[in-house]
Point group: C2
């Protein structure tokens, strides 16, 4: 376990980075992200894609965190403060008393991730205009739960490493290999060139998900809730729909990603 | 369209019920619920289970709402106010400028709902300790999207008609037949007596969802995120698990409900 650094003054310069969490753009300009809570801290400490750079803990939580603190590199500063100080440092209620800053070890490009796909079966998600942090976190959680190989995120989508997206993902945002698509990069061409069949999830799809045969290599495209994927994108993909009850034709996009990933995983072992 | 009632004073007694929204317990004691936004208002106006009791609209939104206002009963008061008044009335940012109060036409019991199930295929959800309004709303949205016949909600679960649950459900909370289980009522006995097979969704389940055969009449039991269903409940049900990738064994309960409902709907048309 690294040595614990007691903090009694909310203005202590050693915890300046934690005070700046309020201005998230500032934090993200430094490429730091904010991880909250014990579950996410555990993912951060063990993820091969990230590393923690500093912790700030409520004093009463330290004992219960011995196992994860023991797994920390010795050079990660672990600050410990009482409730009154913590609340003044971070500027929002820190219910769980556990806050970490972290950094990705690398920022891969879409080409990097596609080049590293397994030779056989592969599942890639392509997110187009996913602007809501709850949906982003939910999709990444499903990508981790079902072992998606990569997630490509377009320029109109929100930041998967924003605090709320990480929290909703239960840490999956720190585990799933993702890359940003450049604004002028066409995702359909890109995934086809990697030998993946592009599937556009859309109510206008000609095929139903339940009738989709096993596809060894697939890229699943999801669009913004409401407007959905652009028509020009859908036209160049295999269109897949999920039939719904009459009168309420509305599924959340994160839920949809879970349904599709489960269905395609099930197809690994045909009944 | 009912006559529009202009409101210039935030303290106008005609809109007292809207000022009380801040104290949600008060509102729910009156059996009123709060519906926000155009999509939910459309569901409320058309739902056979509820009726609107009053509307409060931002003046600039009225023209765009002509169709839904025309579908309102003439005796529903429609209050219209400028932005400055609206913001002082409701006490929270009303981004969409559309607020309605509504009431359920009846509060059915679990026995009422089970007695009304179709004779053949039936899908019932049983929610045990779903205390989070996002999860409650997400589950109800999936129940509506896949046409579940009834939702039974235990006493430890949150209120499906709380403002946030309705919003997250995109109005499904106003469409899906649901009932509260009494604290001393065993849901497993109850659904078995209605000829439904109880399926407990749990990581410890002996069968995988993907291998589940077609079940004409099923009750799907979902527990709290984290602890899951009580062991004593699982032991008396058919235990079903969703296999996940190693190292990240975590699905959101609302997403899980969507995956299960989709799978069981797909089983209607065996491949």
């Amino acid at each position: 376990m690294p040595p614990l650094i007691p903090i009694d003054d909310p203005d202590d310069p050693r915890i300046a980075a934690f005070r700046e969490i309020r201005e998230r753009d500032l934090v993200r300009r430094d490429q730091l992200f904010v991880a909250e809570g014990e579950v996410v801290l555990n993912v951060l400490v063990r993820s091969p894609l990230c590393r923690p750079t500093a912790l700030l803990l409520l004093d009463s939580r330290v004992d219960a965190l011995a196992a994860v603190l023991d797994a920390l590199p010795q050079d990660v500063p672990v600050h410990v403060a009482p409730r009154a100080v913590i609340d003044r440092i971070v500027g929002f209620p820190l219910h769980r008393g556990i806050l970490a800053l972290g950094r990705r070890l690398a920022a891969p490009t879409p080409d990097d991730l596609l080049a590293r796909l397994p030779a056989g079966r592969a599942r890639v998600l392509v997110l187009v205009g996913i602007a809501n942090h709850d949906n982003m976190g939910g999709i990444l959680r499903n990508a981790a739960a079902f072992g998606a190989d990569a997630v490509l995120i377009d320029h109109a989508s929100c930041d998967p490493l924003y605090r709320k997206a990480i929290r909703v993902s239960v840490g999956a945002a720190l585990l799933v290999p993702f890359a940003r698509l450049e604004a002028d990069r066409d995702p359909v061409d890109l995934v086809r060139a990697a030998g993946l069949e592009p599937l556009a999830l859309t109510p206008s799809g000609a095929e139903t998900l339940a009738d989709l045969p096993d596809l060894p290599r697939a890229a699943l495209l999801f669009g913004t809730e409401g407007p959905g994927l652009p028509a020009a994108t859908i036209a160049r993909c295999r269109g897949i729909r999920i039939p719904m009850a009459g009168g309420f034709d509305s599924l959340n996009v994160a839920t949809t990603s879970g349904i599709v990933l489960h269905h395609l995983a099930g197809a690994k072992a045909p009944r």
